[in-house]
Symmetry: D2
């Protein structure tokens, strides 16, 4: 039994880590960190844990925390993890950072897109990008994981195989993404009020969303060259779920079977990535509450483009689930331990 601490436990992602770890056989949560709610009972903030969690919220003292736990999850705003981490902490506990602090290898790019100075650039190289299906072996050996962003997870897993196998032209990639509102966090903002989101849809961060360079980096690794894409996220009136619809020009004529074979090559041994049957398109509802990513594609012979689609739960595979999957790899647990939830329908 290992011990885990969550910094940022009262955000939606932090709460989801708590939910998943409660069903995990090898871990117990020893620290619910939440600066805003110090001394308040965690179950008073998240009533779903009433009678299940007795602990009170703690502050975000990562130093103290590292003495008490084996693994620390930081589900906090950009910059916090980078400002707290140090060699002492990493020598005592493994860290899985759900913020963007260690996802982008080029510190200038990070500082440019995020508009803040990076406080611990010395750990960027060591950090492993925790996209389990792609970096599994490195994750197993890591002390510090940069847990991928929600959009990048769904986008990369949907596009990666075709790019890696050279089927699509990297310069033509356009990713049109749609996300449920939990991705916007639990902060009290007018824009996220029920009456502003319900019965509404909008694009946001057009040509400027911070997940763009993260996706570009990952796709760049796949094809071995620098990639620039269009990425447009949209806010959808639902709690959970991300759907991405990606477009790219095919580099040569390919059949359905050939493309399917490529996806299968990468994913047929992967538990959490499901390549759907022909002409069955991903829907967020079919993965809600689970760690699955459903992907599929459609070739359009008229335009010589391929449409790639992926759906997942932004709080599970897009955040907490993937963080737990990373933890499982790092500590030698079964990779799916605590993550075998069946999607809930309806």
């Amino acid at each position: 039994m290992i011990k885990a601490g969550i910094i940022g436990a009262t955000g939606y992602a932090g709460n989801e880590i708590a939910r998943l770890l409660m069903g995990h056989k090898g871990v117990e949560v020893a620290w619910y960190g939440s600066r805003s709610y110090i001394e308040k009972k965690y179950a008073d903030v998240y009533q779903n844990f009433f009678q299940l969690v007795d602990a009170k919220c703690m502050d975000d003292n990562m130093e103290a925390l590292s003495d008490e736990v084996d693994v620390i999850f930081t589900a906090t705003p950009q910059g916090l993890c980078a400002s707290l981490i140090n060699e002492g902490i990493l020598s005592k506990a493994k860290v899985i950072d759900l913020s963007a602090d260690f996802r982008i290898k080029d510190v200038k790019k990070y500082e440019e897109w995020y508009g803040i100075a990076h406080k611990s650039p010395e750990f960027i190289n060591e950090a492993v990008y925790g996209l389990c299906e792609i970096n599994r072996e490195d994750i197993k050996k890591a002390r510090l994981i940069a847990n991928p962003g929600c959009y990048p997870t769904c986008s990369t897993l949907s596009v990666y195989p075709l790019l890696k196998e050279g089927l699509i032209d990297p310069s033509t990639i356009i990713i049109d993404a749609k996300s449920g509102t939990s991705g916007a966090g639990r902060g009290a903002k007018v824009d996220n009020l029920f009456c502003e989101v319900n019965e509404n849809i909008k694009a946001y961060g057009v040509a400027s969303h911070r997940h763009t360079p993260e996706i570009e980096d990952q796709l760049g690794y796949a094809c071995g060259e620098e990639v620039m894409i269009n990425f447009t996220p949209h806010l959808i009136p639902m709690n959970r779920g991300i759907l991405i619809t990606a477009y790219a020009s095919l580099k040569k004529e390919v059949s359905y079977e050939e493309v399917k074979a490529v996806y299968d090559k990468y994913y047929n041994k992967e538990l959490f990535v499901r390549v759907l049957d022909k002409d069955v398109y991903p829907q967020t509802k079919w993965v809600e509450g689970s760690n699955f990513v459903d992907v599929n594609f459609k070739i359009d012979t008229r335009t010589n483009r391929i449409i790639m689609m992926g759906a997942m739960d932004n709080l599970v595979k897009g955040a907490a689930g993937q963080a737990v999957q990373n933890m499982n790899l790092m500590f030698g647990f079964d990779e799916s331990e605590g993550l075998r939830q069946i999607p809930m329908m309806p």
Copy 2:
């Protein structure tokens, strides 16, 4: 490892039984019955089970089914279970009926409210009303369970202790209930289309809903006299969840502490019924996806009435979860096996 069969596996409740049993250590589903989808792969109807369930849908031959499994769940319209059941079946398999066929002991009352003739009145007496927190010992010995309706489960658990202890006047009980739309089933009806339900609320079955006599029976057992209530259900634009708000006149002056003590007397050893803290009211979101029922109350000294509230997930504790809980009791499993899901938030 016992085997289970589900008749009506492609309804929302049937699908939820499948979801819960997949996480149960002692049961495997051997028969996905669905007359409408015979020969179709179950995972093609419920894509959440893609790559998880390989079986095809079967018909509803209960006779044949009873040879193959240890327990049969009938998640079917009223009348079907009563028309199929017989001594032969019951001698081979235990039956948990999610329809109303065996819930009401007075066959005339059943036929009046449901408008159909009861095909097996001879089994009504044997059937045990599967409200686990109240009839636990009888359930353990039963061959045939009448799994309670969704509204009756939430209503009874919220009101029962005060009635049993004589605190409230049975002739003054009014239950105003609100349910998510999954309670209406998966049938293709204009009334249940997204555009008809979304941004809308309405009462239905006013003074005539079929769950009325079922609730009245259970409340009658509690206080030892015949009870007649007002019960008004409302359709809410959400998928899951039932909230009941019940009103009754207090028979004597009582303090918060006295009432709380009564609820605690009945529920403080119950895992699935959570009596909330003072002035914290039940919300369906805090129990979604789980088998919990959250209850609480408020005394109004101005009117000498008490307001009792209960919230649960209509597909879990209100249907599939309670069915699995009954199965656990009948087969000697841990009562919470397969039912330890943490409510999902958001």
Copy 3:
């Protein structure tokens, strides 16, 4: 052409007044007051008015405003109107206050329920409670209107006729109310975030909601005695709409036709109150965006109670629409001017 000023123009109710007045032939809005957005273009705050309103937001100087306009709407938090109003203002402009400041005649009751001191008790007596269908003649002569609360409007109109005609027992009235989230206003609070409201339902203000004494006052006027009720509001995952379900014991045996005749007596000349056909229950969707209130009832002979139901759009008849209706009466416009919107479906 008269001129109107709106104080609190950037709240949901204020915005709705602006929407309705834009379609009104006899009024032009000359002042969009909003302390939080001073100097910002109104159409930048409410983009629905892009290219339709060019004005900038002004402060809430009621004194200055009264020199420029004929009528002032105060769609502001409790206490503001009472703190600003004076004889000078009222001598120059008519005031329609959408807050609760002048709704309750007993200043002590107001101060008790609202927890604030009343700053202008001297105007309470003069103020007319602007429930047009009941106080029409007084409204025509008024300088100061207390525009009714949303719940009280729907509750009173649904229950009033039966109480006035002595059909129901005032001591047995229970009102279970359900409201869309726009009733909670546009303030940035965690409780009103999309992810907290969506897929959720809860009761709030149980036995303590501030609209209780307002409803009790109005019902008391109807039956000529003091009335105490139970009133329980619930938050529904929809933008607009209030549904109330009211219960009371009948004082004598009555037929459907007799009760229908009573409702018709009060409402068959009322444009905005529609008594539905037998067994057709009010739904908020059927009145959305309009000034209609749909009411109906069901007699339950089993319990000798009657269930009264009413549905309306909380922002129209429950706030802005009724305010405009009051203005029409005060200024001699056709009562339905600017209010002939057909409900939008879906």
Copy 4:
């Protein structure tokens, strides 16, 4: 005062025509056609019209109808209008067809994409494509209008100016569209049930949706060459609204101001097309219930692409509103008569 008949009056678009015409000073609806509800009161099917419309539903006898009215709206499935129309009808009444029957000039293309034989190809040439902002003069003289599809209206208006002015490369156009569920109609299908749509998003008709050739035709007229695009619609859990996000490569370097000037050139005299301010993106909520289309764009200098966005209410500008706008042009009414609704927020 002219008279109008609606065939298909009980669909969502038909109901919306009825709503809009009720506020129109120059038209009265004389025929509510609905084969499925013959002899039923229209207000019993659409309760929003209770006490407002007394008429009963009639059949779809277009011949008889043309003797009684001046204009016929056919809000019916594909093929019906083409199967009923003839010279006799057109000599007596003008026809505005909301189906796709006369939108596509190439009858083979129509038959291929719609999978049905065209019953009156002889009228295809005469029919005018009723996109008012583009074909205004032709519409004024027309007897038969092909009212544009919802997606094509929003897509064409968003992309047209840039294509017409040669700023974007036609071969690179990708349109990712999102629609509320009312676009799917009022038919009772499992896929459109509340529980299937709510908390879900999916793409459908990928690379095969029937609106593709219609959009391609219109864009082809704009640039004077054949255009082939990718068009991917998505189903959004909301009642109303369409948002399109379109991508294209710029043919040359352009500034924000240059592109803005192009949009303004086409739309600054158009009442119903609003080009938003810089960096303000269209949201469906801000146009709900109105005939407005909000458009805007963002240049991405990194990829040399431009992102064009448009939002509208699919039932108004995307169907009924545009039909009324066409009628206004054909009969010499003010173009905005009956269409001055302010968008409803929230």
